[in-house]
Subunit: 96 residues, 2 copies
């Protein structure tokens, strides 16, 4: 259903998903997980073309990471969760 590519950035991992056929169905959500083995002491930037509900699920799964951002095609990565004092501010935009 969903394949991942990851790239290590300074202080974060960029994880970009691709949907098989460009589509996902809500019923796929229970089987969709983040890539295994990522460093949760870093931030996680989630990217890819997909619906809001898929991002909402993935960001919920990303809660153990130091911080979480979603990649906006026009803006860059927008910080949407922060769980450590040294994380970038909520709403910060990070160029990739």
């Amino acid at each position: 259903v969903l394949t991942w590519k990851t790239r290590e950035l300074e202080g974060a991992t960029l994880a970009t998903f691709e949907l098989a056929g460009g589509l996902a169905a809500p019923g796929d959500l229970p089987g969709i997980d983040l890539p295994a083995g990522l460093d949760r002491a870093k931030g996680l930037v989630v990217g890819g073309r997909g619906p809001v509900w898929l991002y909402a699920h993935l960001c919920h799964l990303a809660h153990p990471f130091a911080w979480v951002a979603t990649q906006d095609p026009r803006l860059g990565a927008v910080v949407v969760q922060r769980h450590r004092p040294d994380a970038p501010p909520l709403g910060a935009v990070i160029g990739l």
Copy 2:
């Protein structure tokens, strides 16, 4: 920046946001919160036209609710978080 309308459903509250001018900036996130006084023993369905990073922030804030869904304009409400045994399944689509 953002105004809310809420409607009580059976077992959930539908909270629909509207962005002033239809736009939000990432820097607005720290000042954006869910409507006050909602019943967290129920589910929360978040609706409205806005970017992925806004939904990611709102769903993160919604973590204390029994379950969380996002409203998809074509599908209905898609369950993206569940925190109680009696919550609907992850990925369930709820007609509104």
